[in-house]
Amino acid sequence: MLSRKPPIRIICPGRVFRNDNDLRHSPMFHQVEGLAVAEGITVGHLKGDDPRLHAPALLAEDGDPHAAQLLPLHRALGEVGPSPARTARARGARSARGTGWMEILGCGMVDPRVLHNCGIDPDVYSGFAFGMGVDRVAMNRYGIPNIRLLFDNDERLLRQVRG
């Protein structure tokens, strides 16, 4: 956002790291993040770009596609460099545990302060951003109980993953 003028559309898959290691957290995992900034981007677009496109892929194979829902969780995503989306609302899908929700895709409208700091007029432009942990989604989709199985590199598992 600092170097480009809107309209901006970015999708960015990659490896990310975190100091956390248990059944559901791995020190290294994969994340897909996206950002769109343009004139007239609305909350409806945020919704349209996410659930409609991904809901079938995110849920368990036999899951109800309507189980995914946008929840106004509003967690700050301020850590990600110059593009924090403060008004992030997270969408949850029912987790494998059966109770409650599992946050699988954090998303939200870009904070006007961020746009302002990047030299973009927040009165004219708006944007949305989202980020999703691919491994977490895979766990949910295929009922994988332990995220570490994804990094064991057991050939029997790898063989089942097709590009």
């Binding site: 290294m28 677009h45 509003h74």
Partner: protein, 790 residues
């Protein structure tokens, strides 16, 4: 955080079923994680709600009730606020000053005289117990109750123990000490914000009170503090003493409370009701006016509609305000501050910024949250501009991936961290660069960023072999990390690593062992796909067997790659803690060795050699001939060798690579014009390969004595012993030459000598036979060098 439904019902009418309430709250972003009955036999339901840190307004019962009243559109009843006051003025009895407005923008207090400390009434005990708190005494219980009702922390001091009947908010002086309520004697320093009386500190601001001024059974008069401490100062800016070992500042500062201003909560002195006594008239209220600003703003509902993307079925804009639920509260498009229900709806928290930096989007967010995100129609954005082409690196990565998958390799994904010992045991493409250590590693085994993909791949190969996989062929595409001598962000080139090993084939077929040649087949095919030929050079690498030097694939200018049989020791050290006795099984079943190889970067621009005897890649980015189109490169090399038959396994790529360096398929399709730089040539791609093979013993070029188990070593040892015996016999014969007539043959020793000499010759012959035909001394390029032919 636990909330009692019974308590909530005091302020707002709740739905009949707690489940319904839980669903509504979850949809509004307050995730209800459980509904339980409290421990006591009261008819109540306790909701366990995960209140996120951006919603401190809902971290108390009244705040949550306010949220519920907005969600359901039902009236909210506020707790009674103003107590009956006595005639004595509080301003005459006590004094409050703030020395550090930055640390404490506001401090309020009241004094109650003549209280009787005792047990709390039943209803108060029940409230506290329903959310898991313990009743202590009536004064403490009231302060706790207010905290959970309104979110305002209060602290009660024994007024008689405050020297000078006054409180000062200031930084601690060097050397000051305070015994806090938990009985710990704490050393204070000027970093810490304290509440002090005229003489000494009586409490850590926003953290904990002092023991000395604690309310006890003898207390008659109490001073009640309700204050607002800054975020960065005092407790929040620095862990309190004794808590410094925690990862985060352990105790939250008291939040910037809007309630204080709004409802004069400290004034609502339940204490007088419960513990008796008289509330002194008035409130002590010291504040920094510059930090108090109005929370007024404007809400333009048309802009809100535009922001939300709300449309009705007819295609026109649908004003959110026309929605029945919102209309019931008749939102004005005017001044928010004048509108009470909306103020309750719009959880506008004071921010450190001045008011003009409150953006309308902050307000939209609140409206949409209550309105319900599920009710906003989804749409796809139409952003102008052409689609960007796929990134070059992604295209190339994909090609490598598909090519290697076609060669029978499976993609693996490893952590980027590694055990430093493992990292050191394998060759790095940049041996001079040190590994980068993490500042906060998960464990020692994951404490450095890897400089090569090989160690992880070897481990994975072993992991799979132990699980019964007969043949392992795996690759990984990932970054390696090298420290830059000048510091800064590490150099992170993308690598491709390969590993292969084990047995391939069916019992009814001839089984073959995967080895370096299989690896080479895959690498050749890969290089071929990118229009590159490989070229070999001998090299010495850590963890790779020397002598047979299966070649470091080096470029004319810069090192381009490496290959070699991996030392078994390096593989074995992958799990040093594994019991050793398990090893023979693994090693006898399959003696693992590996080769490491690497292809250079700048694929597609590489010089192509077709000389027999050379393999692998030269990076000649600067070669003037490279500026010409590919075919001219080959022309300089003369005619191409004829394609050879594929290796005996059939799956090897025939040695001869390309007819010409193939032009890359352009992302948009079509061929590139000659002389045009190839796509993908800009960022180097580095390849690392590991062949994990079997039966390496005879290839070891060490002295035979170090491998005592082999027959050649046994022979050598015996030969050496016999040589020594022969020598000693010769010495003895020479010494006795004067006494015993020649020839030696006549003597007993002479016969023995002859026998032994014959035996030595015999053993030497055996030894020669037991050794591999191509001995270590010879250049192994004859076996592996050159075109990597058999």
């Amino acid at each position: 955080m636990e909330f009692s439904c019974d308590w909530l019902a005091q302020y707002v009418a709740l739905p009949t079923h707690p489940q319904e309430l839980a669903k509504a709250l979850t949809a509004a972003g307050l995730a209800v994680e459980g509904e339980t009955a409290p421990a006591s036999d009261i008819d109540d339901t306790v909701l366990d709600i995960d209140v996120t840190t951006n919603r401190p307004d809902c971290m108390n019962h009244f705040g949550l009730a306010r949220e519920i009243s907005v969600l359901y559109g039902v009236p909210l009843s506020r707790p009674p606020a103003v107590p009956a006051e006595g005639t004595e003025r509080v301003a005459d009895a006590a004094r409050v000053t703030i020395d550090d407005f930055e640390g404490c923008p506001r401090f309020t207090g009241r004094v109650v005289r003549g209280v009787t400390i005792g047990p709390s009434p039943e209803w108060l005990r029940r409230r506290l117990e329903s959310i898991g708190l313990r009743s202590i005494n009536n004064v403490v219980d009231v302060t706790n109750f207010i905290l959970w009702e309104l979110g305002q922390p209060l602290h009660a001091y024994d007024f008689a123990k405050l020297a000078g009947s006054q409180l000062v908010v200031r930084r601690a002086r060097p050397g000051e000490k305070l015994v806090t309520l938990d009985g710990v004697d704490r050393e204070l320093d000027p970093e810490i914000l304290v509440i002090a009386d005229a003489e000494r500190p009586v409490g850590l601001a926003g953290v904990m009170g002092g023991l000395e001024s604690e309310v006890t059974a003898e207390t008659r008069d109490i001073f009640i503090e309700g204050a607002h401490f800054g975020r960065r100062q005092g407790a929040g800016g620095r862990p309190a003493p004794g808590h410094a070992h925690r990862r985060q500042p352990p105790l939250r500062t008291r939040r910037r409370s809007g309630d204080l201003r709004r409802g004069r909560e400290p004034g609502r002195l339940l204490i007088a009701e419960i513990a008796g006594g008289t509330v002194l008239a008035g409130i002590l209220d010291v504040r920094d006016e510059s930090q108090c600003w109005s929370r007024r703003g404007r809400l333009d509902l048309r802009k809100l509609d535009a922001f939300a993307g709300a449309r009705d079925r007819s295609g026109g804009r649908r004003a959110l305000a026309h929605r029945p639920r919102l209309r019931r509260r008749s939102l004005p498009a005017g001044r928010l501050g004048d509108h009470r229900p909306l103020l309750a709806l719009l959880r506008l928290q004071p921010r450190p910024e001045p008011p003009h930096e409150v953006y309308p989007q902050d307000i939209y967010e609140e409206v949409l949250r209550v309105f319900g995100l599920d009710r906003i129609p989804a749409a796809l954005p139409g952003i102008p501009g052409a689609d960007a082409p796929r990134a070059e690196t992604l295209i190339r990565r994909d090609r490598v991936r598909r090519q290697l998958a076609a060669s029978g390799y499976t993609e693996a994904v490893h952590f980027a961290f590694l055990d430093p010992a493992r990292d050191a045991a394998f060759p790095s493409l940049k041996p001079e660069a040190k590994p980068i250590r993490l500042a906060n590693p998960i464990s020692e085994q994951l404490s450095v960023l890897r400089r090569s993909l090989v160690p992880s791949l070897v481990d994975t190969a072993r992991f799979n072999q132990r699980r019964g996989l007969p043949a392992v062929r795996m690759f990984e595409i990932a970054n390696a990390f090298y420290e830059r001598p000048e510091g800064g962000i590490p150099n992170q080139p993308e690598h491709v690593g390969l590993v292969c090993g084990g047995r391939l084939g069916n019992p009814w077929e001839r089984e073959v062992e995967l080895d370096l040649l299989d690896l080479k087949g895959a690498l050749d095919a890969l290089a071929d796909a990118f229009g590159v030929r490989l070229e070999a050079q001998p090299a010495e690498l850590i963890g790779v067997l020397e002598g047979n030097s299966p070649s470091c694939c080096a470029a004319a200018r810069s090192s381009a790659g490496s290959a070699g049989w991996q030392r078994r020791r390096a593989i074995r050290s992958s799990r040093p803690s594994w019991p050793r006795r398990r090893w023979p099984a693994a090693t006898s079943a399959c003696r693992w060795t590996a080769a490491v190889s690497r292809l250079s970067g700048h694929l597609g621009r590489l010089h192509v050699h077709s000389q027999p005897g050379d393999a692998v890649v030269g990076d000649r980015a600067g070669d003037p001939r490279d500026r010409a189109a590919g075919p001219r490169l080959l022309a300089a090399q003369g005619s191409l060798p004829r394609p050879r038959r594929a290796g005996r396994r059939g799956q090897h790529h025939p040695l001869v690579p390309l007819q010409r360096p193939r032009a890359f398929a352009h992302p948009g399709g079509g061929q590139r014009p000659p002389g045009h730089p190839q796509p993908g040539a800009r960022t180097p791609l580095r390849l690392e390969g590991v062949a994990v093979c079997r039966s390496i013993g005879w290839r070891v070029s060490k002295p035979a004595s170090t491998t005592p188990s082999s027959s050649s070593a046994r022979c050598a040892r015996r030969t050496r012993t016999l040589h020594e015996t022969v020598k000693s016999l010769e010495t003895r014969l020479a010494g006795s030459a004067g006494q015993v007539p020649a020839p030696w043959e006549d003597s007993e020793d002479g016969e023995q000598l002859e026998v032994l000499q014959g035996r030595v010759q015999d053993l030497e012959r055996q030894l020669a036979e037991a050794r591999p035909r191509r001995r270590p001394g010879r250049p192994s390029a004859r076996r592996y060098g050159g075109g990597w032919r058999r």
